[in-house]
Every structure is written in structure tokens, then in C-alpha cells.
């Protein structure tokens, strides 16, 4: 999972790599591995020891991509994407074999950062068609099938809504 914290430059990745039992886990954050011990845990909050330091967290409102929490009285907003590109790709029809769908649709609202193809280009399934920016994160939109770009329906710098057609691919 990738994380971006509001007002913090660095981006983070984080995952549990090992279950040590007795509520202890190994967690990998960027390139560092830490031991984490959970003390209490429910949907409202968590207390844990990370690298020998105690932390108390309250989970506030959360959406799929954004999480607001208060850690040790400090409010933090995290933007997350769990293999976000893949989900977008999948929802565009990319995972379905033999897809006859013409239109590549955007699964997220966002701003068009760049367009990687021009009309008439041939693309393979999974090739990047354009890059969108949403919630301060850049997401690549990939072709859902092999084919050629019949038309491009977006403009660089423009914005797209969820469900808008990005390109038609034959």
C-alpha cells in the first residue's frame, strides 16, 4: 500500500511482512522493518508499541482513499492507494480477457496531467494511455486491451469525471 501524508514531502509504502504471534508483527515502512505490538484495537482506535515507542491513535472519518486519524494528539490526513493503478486498470475492463469494449473510461475523477498516446497509435493491453492526478496522487490509466487508438476524448490540463470516456480503442 502507498501512502502520502498531507504536508509531508516523503511518500511511504507500508505492509505487514510477518506475524510473530501474540499480537506482534513485523511491519515494513519504506525500507525499514520494525516490530509492532498491538495493545488495543477496534474500529475507533488503536494503541501500539512501534520500535519500543507507545502510540495512541484514533481513527476518524475514512474513505477508500483517504484516512483521517489522530496520533498522539496530532491530526494526520493520509492519502492511500492500494495498488491503485491496478484497480483503475481492472475497472476499466483490463482484467477481462477478450474485451470488446470500445471506450476506456476513467474510474476516478481527476486532472489530466499528461497523455501518452496520439490518435492512430497502436497500444497493448496495460500500456499507459494517460496520467491523471487525483487527491494529490498521480494515477496512470492503462489500456484495457490491445488495439489502436481511434480517438482521444480528453485534453491535457483538463479534468475528467468518474465514468468519462478517456479514449476509444479498437
Amino acid at each position: 500500500m502507498d501512502y502520502k501524508i498531507e504536508d509531508v514531502e516523503t511518500a511511504f509504502t507500508g505492509e505487514i511482512t510477518e506475524n510473530l504471534g501474540n499480537n506482534e508483527y513485523v511491519i515494513k515502512i519504506n525500507d525499514n522493518e520494525y516490530q509492532i505490538k498491538l495493545l488495543t484495537l477496534d474500529s475507533k482506535g488503536i494503541e501500539f508499541i512501534l520500535d519500543q515507542k507507545y502510540h495512541k491513535v484514533k481513527y476518524l472519518d475514512n474513505t477508500t482513499n483517504q484516512m483521517n486519524l489522530v496520533i498522539d494528539n496530532v491530526p494526520i490526513t493520509l492519502n492511500m492507494h492500494s495498488k491503485f493503478d491496478e484497480i483503475v486498470y481492472k475497472n476499466s475492463g483490463g482484467a477481462v480477457a477478450g474485451n470488446e469494449q470500445l471506450a476506456l473510461k476513467s474510474q476516478i475523477p481527476g486532472k489530466v496531467v499528461s497523455i501518452a498516446v496520439t490518435e492512430g497509435d497502436s497500444v497493448k493491453q496495460g500500456d499507459v494511455v494517460c496520467t491523471l492526478e487525483s487527491m494529490k496522487m498521480q494515477v496512470a490509466v492503462k489500456s484495457h486491451k490491445d488495439g489502436s487508438i481511434k480517438s482521444i476524448k480528453i485534453k491535457q490540463g483538463g479534468s475528467v469525471a468518474k465514468g468519462d470516456i478517456i479514449a476509444e480503442i479498437e
Binding site: 504536508d7 509492532i36 488495543t40 515507542k53 481513527y59 494528539n73
Partner: protein, 495 residues
């Protein structure tokens, strides 16, 4: 003897009064509006009466309704707290007429304190220095010019009907004064239909220093030292401390004597506050008397060891002050931070709503006066003061570091608070060095510093925040089982 006190107020100050009354075996009567059914003062008082709708005019400012409750509940005294009816001399008079002991000055004295021109006049007669300027209204621009040249520029032209920055002009020479005189006149006429202008010396880099005063019904008066309240926003105090870093014992005694004179000049009784501006050259100028118990009274309690509400009750009972000035000694240092529900970055706009969780700080020499409890609500109808956090120390540094600890421990969920701002202020070298002035926030770019501090704080917490987010999502994918309930050994260690 007072046996039953009605508290014509709400919030933390109502609780403050109830606390002392309870200790002394005095019954308390709380009043509350629609908005305050679930407020702590309602629950803690001996009796509680509903007095009307949420809007203050329909409840806490409704004199007739409050009088009804006083009479029907059998209260023999009323404590007005601060704000609301506390400085309303009509209300004080209404209580006097109905033989209810108003815990505060007489209606006449209050009326005199509230009339800035008459009060200034009384001070001049008592030889208490006031801000140099016209003795009263100036009749025309020529008189304003002659006064301005007499007291020297820069001066302020003020409409007595102005306020909130309107009808006030800073001028630095004759030409500006002529122009300013016209603008202030027309602004005042367009706002209230009449104009009355006074001229006042403009003081730069001023500090707000006030003195606690106490005077009994037999004419004995003392001062209970000073408080410095220079850290302000929009002319409202944020942080107060005592003693002031610029008041030594000699100055304390000298100004203290003036304060006693000031209380005599307006025949003040009970506790009150004389407010002064101190200019950068060390001169003190009287501005006004606050005829009530101040918000920031706890810091004076901490350094004097006195219970001010008890003192108020004793004075109201006609008892003489139990001490003379020479008996009073200051002990240590105290700071108060007013924890407001407001968004510093939205120009201190109020932030209201439910507060699902609260952690109130504690520890040695930490005092927190608050109406907050987990599950309470911060109402949009009343002022933004949620809590008064005070710390005491043998040295200033001790009180400051205790305050920083307490601010770190204070957690209020659901509303924006001024806590981060105070952490930034208390960490500046200017605050540590006592370089205070009423324009402190602007002068030292505090809001910019606050932004940097918040960013740093977030960066520091980012790895653990990511860990918390990872756990959260794993938990919801049920990859982590919640078996922490059994994990009591660790829990107990941390509790």
C-alpha cells in the same frame, strides 16, 4: 449571611462558582437555556432552572426571568460570573431593589466604571494617570489639532460610538488629522447617526498589564498583584501570566498604590480589575475597570493562595478583608492559556459541534477549569472559551515547561482549538525572554511559525501514522484478528 447563590451564567465560570459554594456549604442554583440541558453546571448545582431559548437575550441576558428564578428558588445572592449580565448596572440595581445580594460592586459604582469618560475623569481627579488626550469630547478640528500638538503625534482619533476598528484613525501630522477628523465624523454619522470624537495618544509596543483589586464594604482596599495579558488576538486575551516580566517589586508597589486609589475613586466594592497599558518606556496608563471576576483570575489565585470566589462571598457578606497589603506576598509564577474552540488558520473563526472525546491534562501544579466532558457539545450560541489551562511553577521556566506538557496532554476531539498555537508561542525565544506586546502574533510572525511547527510535528509522526493505517486496513480485511482484549499485562502497564 449568604446561604443560597444563583449563578447567572454558564460554562466553566458557573462550575468555578459552584465548586467554592459547595465547599463552603452554600446551596447553588443553576440556570440554563435550551442549549445547556446537558451542561455540567446544571448537573453540579444544588438546583437547576430552565430559563429560555438558546439565544442569550432569551435566557442568560433575560433579567426578568432570572429574577423570577431568584425569587421562587429562594436564592439570597446572585453571582454574575463574567460576560452576560456581570457588568450590567441595571441588573445590579434590580437585585438591590429586590433585596438580593449582588456579588460584585454596587450598581452606582458599576455604572461609573462602565462610563469611560466619567471614569477617566474620576481617575484624573484621583491622580491616576490615563492615556494622554482630550479631557472629553473635542468640539472641532481646531481643538483636536491643539491637543494633538500638545501631547505630540502619533495620536488616535476615536469616535466614542465606534468600536471594532470602525470610527478610529491613526494620524501622524496636522494634515492627516484634518483628513482623519472628517472621515471619523462621517463614519460615525453613517453608522450611528451622530459623532463625538476624542483624541488620544497612540502608544506603540504596548503591554496590557492589569491589577487585581479587592475592596470591602468598610473601605479597606488592597491589590492582589498584576497580571500581564499582552498576548492577544483581535483585542482579546489568549495567554496571561503573573508576575509580569517587566514589573519589579518597586513598580508593583507603586502601581499597586494607584490601583487602591482607583478603587476608592469609583467607590468600588468586591473584586475587580484595573487595566493599564504600559508603554515601551515603562509608563503605566489606566484604561478601565472591569467590574467583575476576570476570566484569568485563577493565575492570581495560584500565586496568592487565595480562593477569590470565597473572598467575593465574604466581601458580599459585609466582612472586612482578612489581610492588609503588607501581609500579601506573591509566591511563584503562573500562566493561563485560554483554550478556545476556534480555527487559527481561518482568522480565529469559531469551531463548534460535538466533542466525542476529551483528555483533560493533570499533574503537579496543573489546573484546568473547563466545562468539557466526553460527549459534550461546543455550542455556537456562546463564546468560544472551552477551558482555562493554568500552570504554576517556582520559576517562570517551570510554569512554562509545565504548560507545554499540559498542552501536549490536552486532547479535544471534534473541534479546532487554539492549543497548537499556544505550543508555538510558548516555544518562541521572544516569549521565553518576556518580550511581550499586544501585537506579539503579528510582530513575530507566529502564524507562519505555527504552520512550520505543525508540518514538523506531522513529519515526526508520519511513520507511526503509516503503521496505524496499515493495521487499520489489515484489520478490516480480517488479516489481523483482534485478540488484544486478552493482552491485559501490557494494558495494565500502560494504564
Amino acid at each position: 449571611m449568604i446561604e443560597k447563590v444563583l449563578i447567572a451564567n454558564r460554562g466553566e465560570i458557573a462550575l468555578r462558582v459552584i465548586r467554592t459554594c459547595k465547599r463552603l456549604g452554600i446551596k447553588t442554583v443553576a440556570v440554563y437555556s435550551d442549549e445547556d440541558y446537558n451542561s455540567l453546571h446544571v448537573k453540579k448545582a444544588t438546583e437547576a432552572y430552565h430559563i429560555g431559548e438558546a439565544a442569550p437575550v432569551k435566557s442568560y441576558l433575560n433579567q426578568e426571568k432570572i429574577l423570577d428564578v431568584m425569587l421562587s428558588s429562594g436564592a439570597d445572592a446572585v453571582h454574575p460570573g463574567y460576560g452576560f449580565l456581570s457588568e450590567n448596572d441595571d441588573f445590579a440595581r434590580l437585585c438591590e431593589k429586590n433585596k438580593i445580594n449582588f456579588i460584585g460592586p454596587s450598581a452606582d459604582s458599576m455604572n461609573l466604571c462602565g462610563d469611560k469618560m466619567r471614569c477617566k475623569d474620576a481617575m484624573l481627579k484621583a491622580k491616576v494617570p490615563t492615556v494622554p488626550g482630550s479631557p472629553g469630547l473635542v468640539k472641532d478640528v481646531e481643538e483636536a489639532l491643539s491637543i494633538a500638538n500638545n501631547i505630540s503625534y502619533p495620536v488616535l482619533l476615536k469616535s466614542v460610538y465606534g468600536g471594532g476598528g470602525r470610527g478610529i484613525r491613526l494620524v501622524t501630522n496636522d494634515k492627516e488629522l484634518r483628513e482623519g477628523f472628517e472621515t471619523v465624523t462621517s463614519e460615525s454619522i453613517s453608522a450611528v447617526g451622530k459623532s463625538a470624537i476624542i483624541v488620544e495618544k497612540f502608544l506603540e509596543k504596548t503591554r496590557h498589564i492589569e491589577y487585581q483589586m479587592a475592596r470591602d464594604k468598610h473601605g479597606n482596599a488592597v491589590h492582589l498583584f498584576e497580571r500581564e495579558c499582552s498576548i492577544q488576538r483581535r483585542n482579546q486575551k489568549l495567554i496571561e501570566q503573573t508576575p509580569s516580566p517587566v514589573v519589579d517589586q518597586k513598580t508593583r508597589d507603586k502601581i499597586g498604590e494607584l490601583v487602591v486609589k482607583a478603587s476608592e475613586a469609583v467607590d468600588y466594592t468586591n473584586l475587580g480589575t484595573a487595566e493599564f497599558l504600559r508603554s515601551d518606556d515603562g509608563e503605566f496608563y489606566f484604561i478601565e475597570i472591569n467590574a467583575r471576576l476576570q476570566v484569568e483570575h485563577p493565575i492570581s489565585e495560584l500565586v496568592s493562595g487565595l480562593d477569590f470566589v470565597k473572598l467575593q462571598l465574604d466581601i458580599a457578606n459585609g466582612e472586612p478583608l482578612p489581610f492588609k497589603q503588607k501581609d500579601l506576598k506573591m509566591n511563584g509564577y503562573a500562566i493561563e492559556c485560554r483554550i478556545n474552540a476556534e480555527d487559527t488558520f481561518l482568522d480565529f473563526a469559531p469551531s463548534t459541534g460535538p466533542v466525542p472525546d476529551v483528555t483533560i491534562p493533570s499533574g503537579p501544579s496543573v489546573r484546568c477549569d473547563t466545562y468539557l466532558y466526553p460527549g459534550c457539545t461546543v455550542s455556537p450560541f456562546y463564546d468560544s472559551l472551552m477551558a482555562k489551562l493554568c500552570t504554576w511553577g517556582q520559576t517562570f521556566e517551570e510554569s512554562r515547561t509545565r504548560m507545554l506538557n499540559a498542552l501536549n496532554d490536552f486532547y479535544i476531539q471534534g473541534v479546532e482549538t487554539s492549543i497548537p498555537l499556544y505550543k508555538t508561542i510558548l516555544n518562541t525565544k521572544q516569549y521565553k525572554n518576556g518580550e511581550l506586546s499586544t501585537d506579539f502574533l503579528k510582530r513575530f510572525n507566529i502564524i507562519e511559525k505555527l504552520k512550520e511547527d505543525l508540518k514538523e510535528e506531522k513529519t515526526e509522526k508520519s511513520e507511526s501514522a503509516v503503521a496505524a493505517a496499515v493495521i487499520y486496513s489489515e484489520y478490516f480485511k480480517s488479516r489481523i484478528q483482534n485478540s488484544t482484549q486478552n493482552n491485559s499485562t501490557w494494558k495494565n502497564k500502560l494504564d
